[in-house]
């Protein structure tokens, strides 16, 4: 099974569902805090598995350990979770895909690809609130107890052995993908928690319409036609509509866009590079079109989009790339690699003077760049 595809599709699909009924949120009351279930029960077994996964995760080089960022995201989860705050443990994982998940033992994972994509704190709160919704309603346990899932689980353990199965958690999570009803519930709870924590619930709908833009940009067309997850669930645009209607009944609230911008800024350059390296040019362009069209003029978005064009290198792409790189440089504060990329294009186009000037600028701005020697040899080739 293609793990990446599964996660990407699962992450989107997990959230691509649900027709939430407005009004239901008033009646909903959070349960009391959970105590650790007995190890001899199925729930206890599930927790033990997740505890083990969490121990591995803590050691993982993929975890982002920056304290300020962790405290910030943990704080958002805490505000949403209310009394359950002490049981929430957020782990930020460096993976350039849209995904968040929450295990029954309180381990929450937020992937960097999600943080790159959301536009403000309220949007992240919407995803986290939704995941907390699954947690509060013990949806994983429900799935485990579902007869079909249980036999699938047994088969799975049989196939890999318990240890192997633990290493295949992503696949496992996919097998326990939530039902349409559960997603609907999680949406309602998520919006309710958002509202209670003072967030603008209108932001929840935007996440799914934004994600849909990316998925629809894939060269293989509408994901609903390709992915089995999308095929069995209501489309993301339906969900976006329902969430918007739900938000209309829960007015007011903040987006905290400024705080968000400030907290994310130190990481964005790195996350954008990871996004470019996925090699999914059309999805990245959809994402970067949206991001670079935002109100804040961030040179990194222009550089990143130029780089996607440069690497895709279809007819006309190098011109578009040049335009973005020049715009990034004009904004100021651009990544040094902007000038390397300009130099590489000028070099291929046999514009030696421009190429050398750009390379020089790059070497100047990035004196410790790993490719200094190669760039210098390019400059020597260009002559004087």
């Amino acid at each position: 099974m293609n793990r990446r595809g599964f996660i990407a599709a699962g992450g989107a699909a997990c959230c691509a569902l649900a027709a939430a009924s407005a009004g239901a949120q008033d009646a909903w009351l959070a349960p009391a805090r959970f105590s650790r279930p007995d190890l001899s029960t199925d729930e206890g077994g599930l927790w033990a598995m997740m505890d083990r996964e969490e121990r591995n995760l803590r050691r993982s080089p993929f975890v982002i350990r920056d304290r300020a960022l962790n405290e910030y995201v943990q704080g958002i989860a805490c505000r949403l979770a209310g009394d359950h705050c002490p049981d929430m443990r957020v782990h930020i994982v460096n993976t350039p895909l849209f995904n968040a998940s929450m295990a029954p033992n309180g381990m929450m994972q937020v992937w960097s690809g999600l943080l790159l994509r959301v536009e403000n704190e309220a949007q992240l709160a919407a995803v986290i609130g939704h995941e907390i919704g699954h947690y509060l309603e013990k949806h994983s346990l429900e799935r485990l107890r579902d007869a079909r899932s249980a036999s699938a689980f047994a088969q799975f353990i049989g196939l890999f052995g318990l240890v192997g199965a633990l290493g295949q958690l992503a696949v496992l999570a996919g097998m326990f993908s939530f039902s349409r009803d559960q997603e609907r519930r999680a949406d309602v709870i998520g919006a309710t928690l958002m509202h209670r924590a003072g967030y603008d619930t209108g932001e929840a709908a935007k996440i799914w319409s934004n994600l849909l833009l990316e998925l629809k940009a894939r060269p293989d067309g509408d994901p609903a036609l390709k992915s089995p997850m999308f095929a069995t669930h209501p489309p993301a645009d339906e969900r976006s509509d329902t969430l918007a209607r739900l938000a209309a009944t829960l007015g007011g609230g903040a987006t905290n866009a400024d705080v968000w911008e400030q907290k994310i800024r130190p990481f964005r350059r790195e996350w954008l590079l990871e996004e470019i390296k996925r090699g999914q040019h059309e999805e990245s362009l959809a994402l970067l079109d949206r991001m670079s069209g935002g109100s804040t003029a961030v040179p990194d978005y222009r550089y990143a989009r130029g780089e996607v064009y440069r690497l895709r290198a279809k007819e006309g792409d190098l011109d578009l790339a040049l335009e973005d790189f020049r715009a990034a440089a004009a904004l100021g504060g651009e990544p040094p690699e902007t000038h390397r990329a300009l130099g590489l294009i000028y070099r291929i186009r046999r514009q030696p003077a421009e190429a050398k000037a750009s390379f020089l600028r790059y070497l100047d701005m990035a004196p410790a760049a790993p490719d200094q020697a190669m760039i210098k040899s390019y400059m020597e080739e260009l002559g004087s």
Partner: protein, 190 residues
């Protein structure tokens, strides 16, 4: 690592794997590439392994030396094709040195592993101008931190390359001198 071990186990059981010992001396890889070896390596051969020869000192799940000889325009540098979520990394004959380094980076990160280039420099391989690069890699399937080195050059539109990687603390330092020696010894027939 588990997946690789499992793969090896399956292949060994099915009897398709052959392991040949490569002894000290000069070796031809494909039609046009020769290298000089000091010390013995194991050449792993199994169906579906892709366009590179795979050599190892410690076992495939630990260290790997990939040798590419005569990769043509449009040919992928890995086994299997691309799909929705895994880019296919294909050599193009007009690739520049920076693009060749990026090609191997793309190949090594197809499974979500994390790559960091630490050096990219020109190198002379006989009469040919080539490139040499160093990198680190955090392998996605088991979080093992690897270090690696690569050599590459193109000739008559074909790609020739060597790629080595091993866990960075023990195995990489143990074998890197031999690997550099092999890299420097790469000669491509005109």
């Amino acid at each position: 690592m588990k997946r690789i071990v499992l793969l090896c186990a399956v292949l060994v059981l099915s009897g398709c794997v052959s392991i040949a010992k490569i002894e000290t001396g000069q070796h031809a890889v494909g039609d046009r590439l020769t290298v000089n070896i000091e010390g013995a390596w194991n050449h792993i051969n199994a169906p579906g392994m892709g366009p590179a020869q795979v050599w190892t000192m410690e076992g495939m799940a630990v260290d790997q030396l990939l040798l590419y000889s005569g990769i043509r325009d449009g040919q992928a540098v890995h086994s299997g094709g691309g799909n929705d979520n895994q880019k296919s990394m294909t050599y193009r004959s007009n690739m520049q040195p920076d693009e060749i380094a990026a090609l191997f980076e793309g190949m090594l990160t197809r499974d979500g592993s994390r790559y960091r280039l630490s050096k990219l420099e020109p190198v002379s391989l006989g009469d040919l101008k080539g490139l040499r690069f160093e990198y680190s890699l955090v392998r996605k399937i088991d979080n093992v931190q690897l270090a690696g080195v690569g050599y590459a050059a193109t000739s008559r539109g074909e790609l020739f390359a060597l790629l080595y990687m091993a866990p960075r603390l023990v195995f990489y330092p143990r074998h890197i001198a031999r690997v550099e020696h092999i890299g420097q010894s790469m000669r491509i027939k005109p």
